[in-house]
């Protein structure tokens, strides 16, 4: 799992424009979180940067939304040249809606108070899996 998180962190630096001091928070003794991916961990620690407006935000900020990959962002940018992006377009993009919706706003959608929830991390992190002893 640590190796998986290291690969994810490497990917963030190469393709998503993160710097290393953004990924590794000093509060956790310079260790990556095991229970959630580094991008989601960063977004939860920097909620003041969200929600991101899908129709006006620059590419660098769109790349920081949890659940958005590089291909999704490129399709978004191509689509928003000819249309105003709405909530239904997120469904057509096949993104994980539960992860994405608290962090974005669209022409007909606002996340409201979702970002202020105290247990947002628990809601968004993947549920723990019982490993087998045998």
């Amino acid at each position: 799992m640590r190796e998986h998180r290291l690969y994810q962190a490497d990917w963030l630096m190469r393709f998503y424009g993160f710097t290393h001091d953004e990924i590794v928070p000093t509060s956790q003794q310079d260790m990556l979180a095991l229970d959630m991916d580094p991008k989601l961990a960063w977004a939860l620690a920097h909620r003041e940067r969200f929600p991101v407006n899908l129709n006006t935000a620059p590419r660098e900020l769109l790349l920081r939304v949890p659940g958005f990959g590089v291909q999704t962002v490129d399709r978004l940018l191509a689509a928003r040249r000819v249309r105003r992006l709405r909530h239904a377009d997120l469904a057509r993009l096949h993104v994980p809606l539960k992860k994405v919706l608290p962090f974005v706003e669209a022409a007909d959608y606002r996340p409201g108070r979702a970002l202020d929830a105290a247990d947002l991390a628990a809601q968004l992190a993947p549920p723990p899996v019982q490993r087998s002893l045998f």
Binding site: A78, A79, V82, D89, R92
Partner: protein, 329 residues
């Protein structure tokens, strides 16, 4: 509003579609005023008119501009026409019509990756590409010796879409030196070494029955099937079950999968076998130089008390005595 009915020569009649669509767009005919027919779908259509000798294409409107479309739209349509859905012609014409309107409608049809028509078209094209790829993998030829002594390899296949003629190029490049034929319910293709011949659809009974070589293939398949590495979900993902009834080896899979678990358990429990130092059945052992140095490079062994390799044993009775110290490598 006058309705137009266009009947194409065959289900993948791309030049016919192109000519008709060009004329219709230039005559400003909206998509809802056109009925697209082709002979394969006529049998299921309740409202099919009598087949006309020639399509009556409208003349272009006086103010019709020349329509330009992106080249990848043309490639998309060339693949899309191979799909089996009868609504493909209407979808292609609808996209073309929207591109001709200009303004935001044309921009959406040309450039919008989230446009509903474009998404549907891309799904259909991906289905056609997947079907072509599976056809590359699952066509099985059976040789037939003809009266003039030459061998013709014949195969029966049932593709999901009308891809047979479009896929013939792959088999020509792969089996150029052989004479082969692929029969499908929609069309058949035959290669005589020089030229490709296309023909109408055939039936399964036209294809040859299993030949003598098939038993060898089945035996080979049974022996390379590794029971310890069986992953049925992955296998069915790569080799969907709808192709199994035309694959000779698929009949063995159920039985092999059922016995896989106990076979691999037996492999785990079985005694370790001793690797032979020499192939059994060779004649005299070769003379060894003094000092016991090995003639052929042998892997370093941790066997106690022996210097150099012990002489090869080819009889099972002598093996256990020498092998007890080396049972686990």
């Amino acid at each position: 509003m006058q309705r137009h009915t266009i009947t194409l020569d065959h289900p993948t009649d791309w030049p016919g579609f192109r000519q008709a669509a060009r004329a219709l767009v230039q005559a400003n005919v909206p998509p809802q005023a056109v009925d697209w027919r082709c002979p394969a779908d006529a049998a299921e259509d309740l409202f099919a008119p009598e087949p006309a000798a020639r399509n009556t294409l409208p003349s272009p409107a006086p103010d019709a501009p020349t329509l330009r479309v992106p080249p990848d739209f043309v490639h998309l349509c060339e693949q899309l026409i191979l799909h089996r859905d009868p609504a493909r012609f209407a979808l292609m014409y609808h996209l073309l019509w929207r591109m001709a309107q200009g303004g935001s409608e044309a921009d959406a049809a040309r450039h919008d990756p989230l446009d509903a028509d474009r998404i549907l078209a891309h799904h259909m094209v991906r289905a056609v590409a997947r079907d072509k790829h599976k056809m590359h993998a699952f066509v099985r030829f059976r040789p037939v010796v003809e009266p003039d002594g030459q061998t013709q390899h014949m195969a029966w296949f049932e593709p999901d879409h009308y891809i047979t003629v479009a896929n013939a190029g792959f088999f020509i490049r792969r089996f150029t030196q052989m004479r082969w034929a692929i029969l499908t319910p929609d069309a058949s293709v035959r290669w005589d070494g020089q030229q490709l011949h296309t023909g109408p659809g055939a039936q399964r009974s036209d294809a040859p029955p299993p030949d003598a070589g098939e038993a060898l293939w089945l035996t080979y398949y049974r022996h390379i099937f590794n029971p310890a590495r069986l992953k049925l979900a992955m296998m069915k993902k790569e080799m969907p079950t709808r192709y199994w009834h035309n694959l000779p080896e698929a009949a063995l899979i159920t039985e092999l999968a059922q016995t896989a678990h106990e076979r691999s358990a037996k492999m785990v429990e079985a005694e370790a076998t001793v690797p032979r130092r020499r192939i059994a059945g060779t004649t005299a052992p070769r003379a060894r130089p003094a000092g016991g140095a090995p003639l052929s490079p042998a892997p370093p062994r941790a066997s106690p008390g022996t210097e150099g390799p012990t002489p090869a044993v080819s009889s099972a009775t002598a093996a256990p005595a020498a092998a007890t110290g080396r049972a686990t490598p």
